[in-house]
């Protein structure tokens, strides 16, 4: 049934592209996709999150450029229309937090938003001020998730975040790393602290986390957010030189981006992948990867074998 629905959606997409009338039909498409978007439970609470979120690294750092800000707001609008919820940012990402705040205000504060931000400052004492500044930039009453960015001063910041959670000013606490760095320390923190989330880099070629971090996350009931799913676009640029595999249609994927995302979110330990984009068509394409069926291990192994040969 899921496959049949997917084929229907793809036919619809082709038709829209041919007529150039996508904007006219967007609400209908969005509502049908929203209904079918894959959701995965946050292990610590069981709350369900769509398996694809929206990152903001580089893409939303557009400063005060009014044209680019509006474009980001459109991306966010398409993301919510497609059933997305989790948007992730950091004080490290330049103007991204302010641009997200601009987009949220323009969209009248979508109630489905799951706000994920980070604390990134060497001084633990200055963490609360930075968090408050971030909250004002977003324009939200509180964050759903706050993470210690790249483990910077993690002990002090985690104390702050757990205290905020206990006081009801935060729903979830996490830590982040990227590109395989400090996995030993990440593991130790995962074992010792009552984390809700860990954010790591994972994609079809960067699979170090499969060995220890992802199994540990399952054992400990920690949700996993996946950053850099496309290696900042480098992976897609490489793959898009090759035709799609014959089995792409079987798994409901119409692009390499969807194949990569489907691979990631099909891992049982992964809660949500957060690709970043500046384009409305790309955010819709990404969200479409969070529809249909999840893949089994045999299929994921087949995907790895194919991509590693390219």
């Amino acid at each position: 049934m899921a496959q049949m629905l997917e084929l229907t959606r793809r036919r619809l997409l082709r038709g829209l592209a041919a007529t150039g009338a996508a904007a006219l039909f967007r609400p209908q498409l969005a509502s049908s996709q929203q209904a079918r978007v894959l959701k995965k439970p946050i292990p610590s609470t069981g709350e369900e999150l769509p398996a694809v979120g929206l990152g903001s690294w580089i893409t939303f750092n557009v400063g005060n450029d009014p044209v680019a800000r509006d474009a980001c707001a459109q991306v966010m609008g398409a993301f919510f229309d497609s059933g997305g919820r989790l948007i992730d940012s950091s004080p490290m990402y330049g103007s991204s937090q302010k641009v997200i705040g601009y987009g949220l205000a323009k969209l009248n504060g979508p109630p489905s938003l799951f706000s994920a931000d980070k604390v990134w400052i060497p001084s633990g004492a200055r963490g609360p001020d930075q968090i408050e500044a971030s909250r004002r930039f977003w324009g939200v009453p509180r964050f759903d998730l706050l993470q210690v960015h790249n483990l910077l001063s993690w002990e002090e910041h985690l104390r702050t975040l757990f205290a905020m959670k206990a006081a009801g000013r935060l729903r979830y606490v996490g830590i982040t790393t990227s590109e395989g760095r400090r996995h030993g320390e990440v593991e130790r923190i995962m074992r010792a602290q009552p984390l809700d989330f860990v954010q790591v880099t994972y994609n079809i070629l960067d699979r170090q986390v499969e060995d220890r971090i992802l199994p540990l996350a399952r054992d400990r009931g920690i949700g996993v957010i996946v950053n850099r799913p496309f290696r900042e676009g480098e992976l897609l640029r490489k793959l898009e030189r090759h035709p799609l595999p014959g089995w792409a249609a079987e798994i409901g994927c119409a692009s390499w981006a969807q194949i990569i995302l489907k691979f990631i979110v099909s891992h049982p330990a992964v809660t949500c992948a957060i690709p970043a984009t500046t384009r409305v068509d790309h955010v819709r394409e990404n969200m479409a990867a969070a529809t249909g069926l999840l893949l089994d291990e045999a299929m994921r192994a087949r995907m790895i074998a194919r991509v590693e040969k390219l």
Partner: protein, 228 residues
Amino acid sequence: MSEWWTYSLSDFLLFSPRTYYRLFELHNLAVWPWHVLAIVLGLAVLVLWLRGGARQGRTVAIILAACWLFVAWAYLLARYDTINWAASYFVAAFAVEALLLVWTGLIRNRLSLRPARDAAGLAGLCIFVFTLFAWPLVGRLLGRPWLQAEIFGIAPDPTVVATLGVLMAADRTHWELLLIPLLWCAISGATLWAMQSPDALLAPAAALLAFVLACWKTLSRLGQASPA
């Protein structure tokens, strides 16, 4: 920063090339018609350079200092700071360079330019002329819109490289004035390199030439000063 060896230049890039070059477009639109004054000031430096005169050094120093301050305020603080949290440090560095130019050139009257009589003077003059007239064309030749042109006195790279041209031609090596321009060229070159911009090596190449010539002038001076 632990595991520093695992980081690449692109890990420090906070923005996309599109955003970076759009900043120049927005900046140019915001400060127009100051471009006309900037070009006139650049031409004034050129005329003073070639004609010499008692007030040459003082006037050139004050013009360059004004350009550094304007770029610090109008571009680095008002524009670049919105996409790069490190920009506030660059603002401070540009302000320090402006103060140093005023101190060395205006107050102490230690900045004196030689007409292109030797290799250093000729190289400095060529770089200044290139920066004034050809630098704005570079972006266009690489396919960027005219509105994103980088102009002496308005954008940082041509302002810094033009200053290096002046310092190359100075009759003595001013290491205190060279330090910040050299560092800026390294930072700007690294940024453009991370963005895979074809013109990434322009500013670093000028900086390398300025550094080599400064070393050569310093060694020559030491050689002349030492006893036979």
